[in-house]
C-alpha cells in the first residue's frame, strides 16, 4: 500500500558492498554442519545470513539445515561437486560462486554467506576467490595428533575450531597438546575449543564471526 518496510537493523552496509563469505571446511564428521547450524541460530537475529552447502553424496546437509529450520528454505542452497569436494571450493569455484551470487540476488541485504564444504581431507583450503574468511573444523575424536600433522586447512584457516571437546576424556585426546601443536603451525592465528553439546550456540565462534564482519 505504498508503505515500505525497508528498515535496516544494521549500523552500516557491508564495507565491500557485498556480504562476507565465510568458508567452513574440515574432515567428514568433524561437525561442520552442526557448527553452521549453530552459527545461523546465533547470528540470524542480528544479521542477514544465507548458506551454501557442498554435499558429497546428496543434499543431506542442506536438508538437515532446512529440517532444523535454522534459516528460511530460500536461504539455503546445495551445490553438487561431482565427487570432488575440494575442487568445488578451491580449483573450480564457479558452482559455488553461482550459488552465492544467486542468494545475493534473491536477498539483497545479506551480511553473511556461509559456504560449508563437503567433508574432505586435511589439505583442503578455500580459494580466496570464494571465501573472504575461513574456518577449519577438527574434532577431538579424529585423534589429538592431527594438529601436529598440520596440513593446509589446519595451518592456514583464519580460525581453527577444535570441536567435540566433551568427548576428549572418552577418546583419550589431550586438548592441551592439540592447542600447543596447533599454535606451532598457525603463526598466531586463533584456535577455538568448542562443544556444541555443552554450548549449542558456539559463542566463541559466533563472536569471532562478528569481529570478522566488523573488520572486513
Amino acid at each position: 500500500m505504498g508503505e515500505h518496510h525497508e528498515h535496516d537493523p544494521h549500523d552500516a552496509a557491508p564495507a565491500h558492498g557485498r556480504p562476507l563469505r565465510l568458508g567452513i571446511g574440515g574432515p567428514v564428521g568433524s561437525g561442520k554442519t552442526a557448527l553452521t547450524a549453530a552459527l545461523c541460530r546465533a547470528l540470524r537475529g542480528e544479521l542477514e545470513v544465507a548458506v551454501v552447502t557442498n554435499d558429497i553424496y546428496t543434499t543431506e546437509d542442506a536438508d538437515f539445515l532446512r529440517r532444523e529450520a535454522v534459516l528460511p528454505d530460500d536461504r539455503i542452497t546445495a551445490v553438487r561437486t561431482g565427487a570432488c569436494p575440494h575442487t568445488a571450493i578451491r580449483d573450480d569455484i564457479s558452482a559455488n560462486l553461482d550459488a552465492v551470487e544467486a542468494l545475493q540476488a534473491r536477498h539483497p541485504g545479506l551480511d553473511l554467506v556461509i559456504v560449508e564444504s563437503g567433508g574432505d581431507n586435511l589439505t583442503a583450503l578455500f580459494s580466496r576467490g570464494l571465501a573472504d574468511r575461513q574456518i577449519f573444523v577438527l574434532d577431538v575424536a579424529g585423534g589429538d595428533d592431527v594438529p601436529r600433522k598440520g596440513g593446509l586447512g589446519v595451518a592456514a584457516a583464519d580460525l581453527l575450531v577444535i570441536n567435540k571437546t566433551d568427548l576428549a576424556p572418552l577418546v583419550g585426546s589431550d586438548l592441551a597438546v592439540m592447542g600447543r601443536d596447533a599454535a606451532k603451525v598457525r603463526d598466531g592465528k586463533p584456535v577455538a575449543f568448542t562443544s556444541l553439546r555443552e554450548q549449542p550456540g558456539a559463542p566463541e565462534v559466533a563472536g569471532w564471526v562478528r569481529d570478522a564482519l566488523r573488520t572486513w
Binding site: T58, G82, A83, D91, D92, S94
Partner: protein
C-alpha cells in the same frame, strides 16, 4: 593463439565442468555403463548427437562473433529448440554462466557482454564457447573442435570417478574416439555456411530420459 585455445579446452578451466557428467551418472545408475567399452559406446553416441549439436552451435556462435553480429537471442532460442529436456537446458545454461564468468575475465569481448544479458538464467554453453573462441583469435572450426572434445572428456572423467575405472584405459578409449571428435568438429564447422535454422538437431532419446531421471534420483554426485 594456440596456447589460448588449449587453455579454453583444458579440463582445469575453472568453468564448473567437473560437476557435470554429461548423462554418465544416471546411465551408471541405470546399469547401462559398467566398464570402459560401455563408457566408450556411450560417449560415441553422445558425441554424435548432443556433441554434434553443441559443436555446430559453438561454430555458429564463433562465426557470429567474428562478424560482429548481435542476434544472440535468436541463436540462444535455436539452442533451446534443440534441447527439449528442461534438465539439460538448465545444465547448459548453468555451464554457460560459469564459462561466461571465466571468459569475460580472461578474454573480454563485446559478444561476451551481449551474451551476459541474453537470459536471466545465462546463455547456452556452446554460445559462450563460440564467442570466447572468437575473442581469443580462434576460428569456428576450432570452437567446434573444443566443444566436441568437451562432449567426451567430461563424461569420461565422470566415469573414472563414479566407477573407479582405470584412467589409463579410459584415456586409451578417448584416444580411440579422437577421429570421431575431429569428424564431428569438421561436420559442425561446415554448417556455418547455412542458416541457423538448418543447424544439426541430432537427438538422443535416452540422454533426454536420463537427464530427467537424474533430477529425481536420491543419490547424485553430479549436477547433470
Amino acid at each position: 593463439m594456440r596456447a589460448s585455445l588449449l587453455l579454453l579446452a583444458d579440463s582445469r578451466l575453472p568453468a564448473g565442468g567437473h560437476a557435470h557428467s554429461g548423462g554418465v551418472e544416471p546411465a551408471v545408475s541405470a546399469g547401462v555403463i559398467g566398464d570402459v567399452p560401455a563408457l566408450a559406446d556411450f560417449l560415441r553416441g553422445r558425441l554424435a548427437t548432443s556433441g554434434l549439436v553443441a559443436a555446430a552451435l559453438a561454430a555458429a556462435a564463433c562465426a557470429h562473433a567474428l562478424e560482429g553480429g548481435d542476434a544472440w537471442a535468436l541463436l540462444d532460442a535455436e539452442a533451446d529448440a534443440r534441447t527439449p529436456s528442461p534438465a539439460q537446458r538448465k545444465a547448459a545454461r548453468a555451464q554457460g554462466r560459469s564459462l561466461l564468468r571465466v571468459a569475460r575475465t580472461t578474454w573480454p569481448a563485446r559478444a561476451l557482454e551481449a551474451l551476459a544479458v541474453v537470459s536471466p538464467d545465462g546463455p547456452h554453453h556452446p554460445l559462450v564457447l563460440g564467442a570466447a573462441t572468437a575473442s581469443l583469435g580462434g576460428t569456428p572450426h576450432e570452437a567446434a573442435a573444443v566443444t566436441a572434445y568437451n562432449a567426451v572428456t567430461g563424461g569420461a572423467s565422470a566415469g573414472v570417478r563414479l566407477l573407479g575405472l582405470d584412467p589409463l584405459e579410459v584415456n586409451r578409449a578417448l584416444a580411440a574416439l579422437a577421429e570421431d571428435v575431429d569428424a564431428v568438429a569438421a561436420k559442425a564447422a561446415a554448417c556455418t555456411d547455412g542458416p541457423w535454422t538448418a543447424l544439426p538437431a541430432a537427438s538422443a532419446p535416452l540422454l533426454d530420459i536420463y537427464a530427467e531421471l537424474h533430477l529425481r534420483a536420491d543419490l547424485r554426485l553430479f549436477e547433470s
